[in-house]
C-alpha cells in the first residue's frame, strides 16, 4: 500500500510532491495568488481530515487534482453568490510569457481549467472528462473553444 512501506510516508514528503501541483491548479483556475494559497491550504486540510489511502502515486496525484479542482469551483461559485467576482492577480510573467498569459487569463475559468489539465498536466480529454464528471465531448468542446481563442498563440508554437 502506497505510503505504508517507508517509501514516502511523512506528511512533509507528500506536501513536497503535491503542494506545487495544487497551488498551480488554483492559480490556473482562480487566477489569484491569495485564493490559490487558500485553496492549497484547504485541500491539504481535507487530506488531513480524510487521510485517504492511495494505491499508488498516480492515484495520489489524481486525488489532489480532483479535490483542488472541485475546491476551486466551490470558491468561484461562492464568489458568484456573493456577487464579488474574484480579481485576477497572478505573479508577473516574464516578457516572453506576458502576451500568452494575458490571452490565457482572458479565457473563462472553465476553459483555463481544461487548458491547464490538458497542456500542463498532460491529461487526455477522456481523463479530464472522467475527473470533472463531464462528457468527453464537453471537454473537447471547451478545449476547441479555447484553442480557437488561442489560435494565434498555438500557431506560433507550432511554427
Amino acid at each position: 500500500m502506497f505510503g505504508r512501506k517507508g517509501r514516502e510516508t511523512s506528511f512533509e514528503s507528500l506536501l513536497r510532491r503535491q503542494e506545487d501541483r495544487v497551488y498551480r491548479i488554483g492559480l490556473a483556475i482562480l487566477g489569484n495568488v491569495q485564493d490559490a494559497e487558500d485553496l492549497t491550504q484547504e485541500t491539504f486540510l481535507k487530506y488531513l481530515e480524510k487521510r485517504p489511502r492511495f494505491e499508488n502515486e498516480a492515484h495520489e496525484k489524481a486525488w489532489f487534482i480532483t479535490v483542488a479542482r472541485n475546491g476551486a469551483i466551490t470558491r468561484l461559485r461562492a464568489s458568484h453568490r456573493r456577487e464579488l467576482p474574484l480579481e485576477l492577480e497572478i505573479p508577473t510573467p516574464g516578457p516572453e510569457e506576458r502576451e500568452e498569459l494575458e490571452e490565457l487569463y482572458a479565457l473563462p475559468p472553465e476553459d483555463r481549467e481544461v487548458i491547464h489539465l490538458y497542456y500542463y498536466e498532460g491529461w487526455s480529454t477522456g481523463e479530464i472528462a472522467r475527473m470533472t464528471g463531464s462528457r468527453e465531448g464537453t471537454v473537447r468542446s471547451r478545449l476547441s473553444r479555447a484553442r480557437g481563442k488561442l489560435k494565434k498563440l498555438l500557431e506560433e508554437v507550432e511554427a
Binding site: 494559497e37 498516480a58 469551483i73 500568452e100 462528457r135
Partner: protein, 265 residues
C-alpha cells in the same frame, strides 16, 4: 503553450505557505485530552423554523432522473481512481473535430432557480417532522470550548457561511467536527460533519441555508434517505458538470423530498 508551461513551472508555494501547511498537520493531530473532550454545554435547537438545504449538484434535474443510482461510493473518488489508473498516460494529441454545442451556462455559475418553487409540498417521506426531531437528537454545543481557537482560525476562512455570519466555535473529535456560526442578525448556525459520512448536517435557527463547501463530497442519495439524515444533503447529477447551488427555505423541504423520492423510486 511554451510560455504558459515555463510560467507555471516557476510557480511554487512560498516558504511561508509551506510552513503553514506543515502546521496544519500539527493542529489536526488531536491530543489525547482533546479526543476525550466532551463539550460541556449542549442545547437542543428548536424545530419550528428548522433547516434549509443547500444543494450542490452536478448537472440538471432531468439529467439526474435519467440515470441510475450509483454504487454509493463518492463518485469523485471514482474519478480519481479511474484517473489514477491512466494518469501517467501521455496526453492524446487529438483534435476536437466533433464539437458539441457549448454548454449554455458556465460550470461555475450559481443558478438560483431550482425549479422547485412550483412543486406541490407533499408528505414524501424523506424529510418529515419525525425525522427532523430525530435529527435534532444530535446535540451541538452552543458555547465555545476552550482551546479550540486554532480550529476556528483554520476553518473560519474555509467554510462558506451567509453574509454577516462568523464561525465562533469549532471542535474536532475522532469522529466528527462541530461548528457554530453567529450572525450579525442574532441568528445562529450549527453544523456537524461526520468523517465517515460525506453529508454535512447543517441547520440554522430561523432562516437561510448554509452549506459546508465540501463539494467534492458527493453523496449517494438512497443511502441518505435510508438513514433519515436530512439537515443537509448533497446530490450528484454527475453526468453533467454544470453545477448550481440552491438555497431552500423551510417550506420548500417537502417539495425537495417529493422530487427526491421520485428520483430514487
Amino acid at each position: 503553450m511554451k510560455g504558459y508551461r515555463s510560467y507555471m513551472d516557476r510557480q511554487k508555494v512560498s516558504p511561508e505557505l509551506h510552513r503553514r501547511l506543515m502546521e496544519l498537520e500539527e493542529r489536526q493531530s488531536p491530543s489525547p485530552s482533546r479526543q476525550k473532550h466532551t463539550p460541556s454545554s449542549f442545547r437542543w435547537q428548536p424545530l419550528a423554523v428548522a433547516a434549509c438545504l443547500c444543494l450542490v449538484i452536478g448537472g440538471s434535474w432531468l439529467a439526474f432522473f435519467g440515470r441510475g443510482m450509483g454504487s454509493g461510493k463518492p463518485e469523485s473518488m471514482d474519478y480519481a481512481l479511474d484517473a489514477a489508473a491512466s494518469a501517467e498516460a501521455p496526453a492524446e494529441a487529438e483534435e476536437a473535430t466533433a464539437v458539441e454545442p457549448a454548454a449554455a451556462e458556465s460550470i461555475y455559475s450559481a443558478q438560483e432557480d431550482n425549479g422547485l418553487a412550483d412543486e406541490a409540498p407533499a408528505e414524501a417521506g424523506l424529510i418529515t417532522e419525525t425525522e427532523l426531531e430525530e435529527a435534532a437528537q444530535e446535540a451541538i454545543p452552543t458555547q465555545s470550548g476552550s482551546g479550540e481557537e486554532d480550529l476556528v482560525g483554520i476553518y473560519g476562512p474555509l467554510l462558506y457561511a451567509p453574509e454577516g455570519y462568523r464561525l465562533v466555535y469549532a471542535h474536532r473529535t475522532e469522529e466528527e467536527l462541530l461548528f457554530r456560526w453567529e450572525g450579525s442578525d442574532g441568528g445562529e448556525i450549527t453544523a456537524r460533519r461526520i468523517y465517515s459520512d460525506p453529508a454535512a448536517l447543517v441547520r440554522k435557527e430561523g432562516g437561510l441555508a448554509v452549506y459546508d463547501g465540501e463539494s467534492y463530497d458527493w453523496r449517494e442519495p438512497e443511502s441518505l434517505r435510508q438513514e433519515g439524515e436530512l439537515w443537509g444533503f448533497i446530490l450528484d447529477w454527475s453526468e453533467y458538470i454544470e453545477c448550481y447551488t440552491a438555497d431552500l427555505l423551510p417550506e420548500e423541504l417537502a417539495a425537495v423530498a417529493e422530487s427526491f423520492s421520485s428520483a430514487v423510486a
